[in-house]
Symmetry: D3
Subunit: 341 residues, 6 copies
Amino acid sequence: MYDVITLGEAMVRLAAPGFGRLEQATSLEMRPGGAELNVAVACARLGMKTAWVSRLPDQPLGRFIRNKAREQGVDTEAIVWGGAAERVGVYYVEFGAAPRSSSVVYDRADAAVTRLAPGEVDWAALFAGSRHFHTSGITPALSPSLADVTREALEAAKEAGLTTSYDLNYRGKLWSPEEARRVQEPLMPLVDVLITTEEDTQVVFGISADGPTDANYEQVEASSYAQVAAQLGERFGHDIVAITLRSGASVWFNGWSSLAWQAGKFYTDTVRDLEIVDRFGGGDSFAGGFIYGLQHYDVGEALRFANAFSALKHSVPSDFAWVTRAEVEAVLRGDALRVKR
Amino acid sequence: MYDVITLGEAMVRLAAPGFGRLEQATSLEMRPGGAELNVAVACARLGMKTAWVSRLPDQPLGRFIRNKAREQGVDTEAIVWGGAAERVGVYYVEFGAAPRSSSVVYDRADAAVTRLAPGEVDWAALFAGSRHFHTSGITPALSPSLADVTREALEAAKEAGLTTSYDLNYRGKLWSPEEARRVQEPLMPLVDVLITTEEDTQVVFGISADGPTDANYEQVEASSYAQVAAQLGERFGHDIVAITLRSGASVWFNGWSSLAWQAGKFYTDTVRDLEIVDRFGGGDSFAGGFIYGLQHYDVGEALRFANAFSALKHSVPSDFAWVTRAEVEAVLRGDALRVKR
Amino acid sequence: MYDVITLGEAMVRLAAPGFGRLEQATSLEMRPGGAELNVAVACARLGMKTAWVSRLPDQPLGRFIRNKAREQGVDTEAIVWGGAAERVGVYYVEFGAAPRSSSVVYDRADAAVTRLAPGEVDWAALFAGSRHFHTSGITPALSPSLADVTREALEAAKEAGLTTSYDLNYRGKLWSPEEARRVQEPLMPLVDVLITTEEDTQVVFGISADGPTDANYEQVEASSYAQVAAQLGERFGHDIVAITLRSGASVWFNGWSSLAWQAGKFYTDTVRDLEIVDRFGGGDSFAGGFIYGLQHYDVGEALRFANAFSALKHSVPSDFAWVTRAEVEAVLRGDALRVKR
Amino acid sequence: MYDVITLGEAMVRLAAPGFGRLEQATSLEMRPGGAELNVAVACARLGMKTAWVSRLPDQPLGRFIRNKAREQGVDTEAIVWGGAAERVGVYYVEFGAAPRSSSVVYDRADAAVTRLAPGEVDWAALFAGSRHFHTSGITPALSPSLADVTREALEAAKEAGLTTSYDLNYRGKLWSPEEARRVQEPLMPLVDVLITTEEDTQVVFGISADGPTDANYEQVEASSYAQVAAQLGERFGHDIVAITLRSGASVWFNGWSSLAWQAGKFYTDTVRDLEIVDRFGGGDSFAGGFIYGLQHYDVGEALRFANAFSALKHSVPSDFAWVTRAEVEAVLRGDALRVKR
Amino acid sequence: MYDVITLGEAMVRLAAPGFGRLEQATSLEMRPGGAELNVAVACARLGMKTAWVSRLPDQPLGRFIRNKAREQGVDTEAIVWGGAAERVGVYYVEFGAAPRSSSVVYDRADAAVTRLAPGEVDWAALFAGSRHFHTSGITPALSPSLADVTREALEAAKEAGLTTSYDLNYRGKLWSPEEARRVQEPLMPLVDVLITTEEDTQVVFGISADGPTDANYEQVEASSYAQVAAQLGERFGHDIVAITLRSGASVWFNGWSSLAWQAGKFYTDTVRDLEIVDRFGGGDSFAGGFIYGLQHYDVGEALRFANAFSALKHSVPSDFAWVTRAEVEAVLRGDALRVKR
Amino acid sequence: MYDVITLGEAMVRLAAPGFGRLEQATSLEMRPGGAELNVAVACARLGMKTAWVSRLPDQPLGRFIRNKAREQGVDTEAIVWGGAAERVGVYYVEFGAAPRSSSVVYDRADAAVTRLAPGEVDWAALFAGSRHFHTSGITPALSPSLADVTREALEAAKEAGLTTSYDLNYRGKLWSPEEARRVQEPLMPLVDVLITTEEDTQVVFGISADGPTDANYEQVEASSYAQVAAQLGERFGHDIVAITLRSGASVWFNGWSSLAWQAGKFYTDTVRDLEIVDRFGGGDSFAGGFIYGLQHYDVGEALRFANAFSALKHSVPSDFAWVTRAEVEAVLRGDALRVKR
């Protein structure tokens, strides 16, 4: 019954205001965040019937996360509720300015979500009549139990005939490249649509572009990334591989683009100039926009839609893409950056 | 007795903080704003004796607007007061970041000002001994009654020997191009100084530059705009026509310039690079600076002064130009962007 | 399929921070509010499946309201969407301190909700399998069209076998006592549960307590209000009449209680001492708690529950009752005002 | 031409937010304040044509003060402007909670106002056709030059036939009781209306109540203060003496009242219960309300009006009385502390 | 070399602003807090040379805590530093209003401090030449390792000839009464000065007052608590037992007092009326003030000093006692709650 | 015993939030600031044992400054304390946007520090066993007494064998170029390490680059500045001369570099692109980083370290360099501006 179902953690995001440092802060801005919740929100905002599956503790911060998902129109009925004494993960954010990059301090060990166990979610019921399932590499990284749930969900999704997508989302603070590969390689054949970055595929699967890229991934060379996408697709049997490309040696400004491979065909898009308000959740908004696009357009159009959508997300202070479809369409039309009066 | 008198609406401006969206906001920054009040404030700050004519309800928000005009030294004695149950118009602002433009949601229908009727303001008394009258295309767009008041005021101003200026300020959310033309074309012969943009003259009077301009008005070609100014001046018999030019495909940075036509002669100015804090009221500050300039300098100097003044206004969070004459002079001198210690 | 369905307006509530005045404010706190939405939120928070019916414009502020309802778990699928150029009503709040009372400036004329027309909501579908319908005297006061919708909804609810409740909620700024009586008297026989205050029944229906009450309703005499409840119940055939009682000549502190009449029997409760953070929505939270109570307890227990719930709501900055059932139970148990560690 | 003219300093008031301490603060709330400016604002808000005379430096903080006076409708044309390198006085405020009192750190030495010299203000022009002149004991305390200006102004006022009022306002951090007496005793015969507290008259003139008052002035005994007023009036020849009375051993709650003596007759008023938001400027608002009252009512009515007005001022975060005449009238009518809807 | 050394955890305290709920918050106020750090800060502010021993991770939040201790003049050289990937405990605070109590959500499992192990702190060096050691029942409750460190520290302190104090501080969310008793009973003979509440001694040691106390500890009966103190002192051989007494069925107002027993003699103090800004850390400030008092006065004077000091702390938004000795002395003198000018 | 000791003033810095003007502000952000305190903080943060010598009044703002120095790990034991009635200097900051530069209003006359007199600091004790002494040209500019203390300290430092550094820091609002030269020329032979800008050496000592530099110092030509450094070094006998170079006609972006001369040898560094959050204290952070570098590296490395450190400081809202050594090392390694996850 759902257009999209995602599985994953969500955390309380606490950000130092302005460009302040955590050491200096006297207050922190509180928002929700989490890769797969971000994707769910993107999908729901674009009008898809979307559910998010996770595990939250029954205390104010757990309700905070649940409420914020609901606020965006995400169905939260499938959340598994833990006890009041359990915790929600937290991550602390600082927004940078060159030469200081934005940074994150994670505090998510033993969050309630890590205790989600196979058998606790009725996947068959959720997936009956549904179209798309999405998760990311963060989910299996969080705990062995969640790794099992990830596999359980992907298998159930395939069995129920859903399209599956997976964002590689490598997090070096959660596991080593070796662990990431060991756990995720067996999952790849269950994935129809792989979304990733050149950097992550290099780290996790050792697949990298032939052409010259600088060590910091600051110079984007789309053509060489196309080969990466092709290698991934061919190795794991994905239908579609999409790679997002962020460029520029600046914190406040980036170029933003992506490319996609499908059955040997490549699709690219223009590089969009971003004035960056908040880059967190940028990749997740691409994933959400791309899933939307795949349900409404061909791959090339889906790519353009997803790029424009995630470009807009970078202008909004939140992990969530507080953006409307009409705004995406205006960007795609090339509307001027003027105030409409 | 006044150097400048302006007529028009003012609203409560409620802006989402930072670069947040209205949907996200938990508080809104409250400031006053309104094209002709902005002009009056600019004039008063520059030292001219200035009055603003409007209609406000006798409730806290009406007093808020009145107080803020007074704070800037604008004479508010000529305001017509409506009842406590009437409303003040509101506009909601979001500040953007490329590729998301800044945007506005207006809520000004049936504001107290729209009920201002001919005969309620004693123009003869106000204009006796005064020098300049200014209004803009927003005023007649707000209600038929205000359109009548606009004509009444312009006629009285001309009769009393004042110089009149008019900013075309087309607002597509208030009326159609046809209505705008029908109402304003008869007013133009009453206008000595017309202030406008190429875009607005194209929309309202169908007068456009010959040369190639891109559809989004992002590329400024001053020479072609000069022809526009000349056509306007010759068609309607204006003494002076000034056109402001904003360039650049960015939200945070613009080039800013303007040109003026007087009796067949053109005046241009350098393009100033703006780091934009708040572009609302930018055009109004030009008008205010230009009126000041016309009372103190020749047209070329007035143009330079107005450009520098409005360039500074873009650096200030407000519709109002919280800027001093000394600061304009520093910009005109080319002072470095260093902290004075 | 719903435990509760409510019908009514919602507005953007803009409050001056702290105890500041609107004239002084430089920012306003933005929250949603509206009598029947408040009731729906109360019901949803207490675990009932709840829908709210209204009409909102498709622009950021309309979405803001919708989102905030969803955040609380209220179903918003039945909202009728108007155009992007329509408006949301706004009310401006000041929090007082003796001898200055808290105050409100309403700006809700011509809000999108006022254009909701009979036939636009599929009441039969909504009510099928549902249990309770609630609205208040604000709804028919907003426009003749809404008055028709109110009647339409009440009749459909009775036909579908739902329990109906109605909060008299007289608003002198919306209509006269005569109009209020003329429109609402015919509705009363459709109302099973009437919720009101002594003041409102006096103004609208001319029913007042015999005993001595002071002109400002500051001294509560529960016994005399019981007669009022009985008169109402007998005159209009209500099953239950509940009256809330606020006492105390202070802004920061009130006594809070209520009483109920059912079939000739009276129920009263203790007076709870309130340290008041936000009294707006206090009565609505009573209504929500009472509806919950009627679905779970007898009238006397429902009254106790509703009183405790709305007493807690007064401690929270919002029209909404950000309160949990567990907290109500702690108050009912008489837990000490100590920090649980 | 003025109903009221006041003379005195104004400062930037920087307050720690909430109930925080200065040592803890990371931001300070900035507002204007100053005894005689506060009085001028009170008078202007009540509808009197009011001018404030002072000396300010021509830099942003000087303009800040001037602007805020204008915002309230106070005429600022008579301000004497000093150089850009001069300073504005500052005072730092902490709001307390029992057993911690609210407190102030002054930093006003050598403020621009202290350099105001006799002969710089054209009193004759200002006073021509005017009705009332007011200053307070802070003005002569600030500098010998200002003491001379105070005398100059009082003499000019008497000569021009104005009523004069003087608030004793003893400030122990500015001068000793001996100095205060030496400078002010000669001024007293120039004062028609003396406004003071029992504490100040005791410290400066050694006049105290016979009856038992506790050392902290927390217990008010109106009758004994009446004798103080009478002694003052008889000793210095004042027409009217008014004494404000604050009671209560609490920071958040006070009783507030006052009494007046005129030609041997006493006037008292009820004690109003205050929920205190901001007590700074409380006495000044009494003075302003009393001046208004004396121009519109008899002494007894003026006292009632002034008490209600200053009671309301205590509910507003500011030295200024952001209060309207209509609100005063509601308090005098005894309106309930209910929200008007 | 230190006057006082304390041992214990510190956390980041994140509080919902105003009286808001965590579920509603969009920002949280960040401050440091922790029972024994609070005590250390109190001691350092009163002029004692004070060190705080703990374990913190080398990341921004660890530095935040360390910095804030230093800001107060607490020596932080003895802190043991953990790795950058470790965490700081967090607690989330809501400030209540009757009938809603203030509340706390703890998230401190596996904080870096819980890994502090015996042998890591050079107690002998720290204690050489020092006078007083303090810790509380929270420390051994946090982990078995910390329980060992607590014993290690107390034994070393006694050996080095220091006076030891211990605040029982029972935390039901950390351990059961049985565990608390099992671990702490053996520590008691090492404690010279026991500080506690009647409630905690009842829960942990089963020692309660004979006289009638209500179940919520809202009614204070000092005499019966005296027996509790005596029982404790006699049973465990403490030199001094102090019990703090909080009374009142309100969130915003409490009565505050304490009593002490020493060698069979009782000391009591007046009940101070508190207008409560922040009750967190209230007991810790008593402990700090009492330690100060014991080094400067006799027990009775120490008690009076500690009560006044902690009464003042309740007026300050922080766990820390941002209070000066001069302010304590003013309270002890009975200075009026007037603004000093 | 100290690695570094600095001497100088510190002020309360009050900044208008965002890019607002002081005239507009309703709150000001409060932070500490002061050239030599900034240097001390930089040194302490980098791990050096650092003391700061100054004079502060014993009132909340004096304690505020002292506390903030302690928070950073700066030893404040050598501060000389003045009376509670003395003042702390204040400076008011506005952050600009092109074409409006950031600006400062100073209010520091007669601050407590200006009364520091020779003989009050026991330099011999402080310097015994210490390594480095630093002050700047602001210190002797503040008062004749401080000029004497500056000389006293430099002489004592040389006598005790410390390395001395001096930042020329010319402040035109404190003294004329002639005074600056007269007072400082005799100090120069006591200075081992001179830190300055081309602009300041030109103004104070008339030493300027030969090559073409534009009048606003916006175009940096490192080679010509090298000659300036050499001239300074040779004329005054400094061991090392370092010159910081800021370039770019923008407020939000600068190029940042520096060069050093030592014994005839020149060292230069790359120009770092800054996204500027707060340029105040930028030069001071260079000085602190350079002192650190000189104690750990050779001059070339010290220069690179200092440049990277001060480049980072520009990204932080504060005069203080809330930066860690690890972050400097990341910049020096050329780490990408990516979020580390």
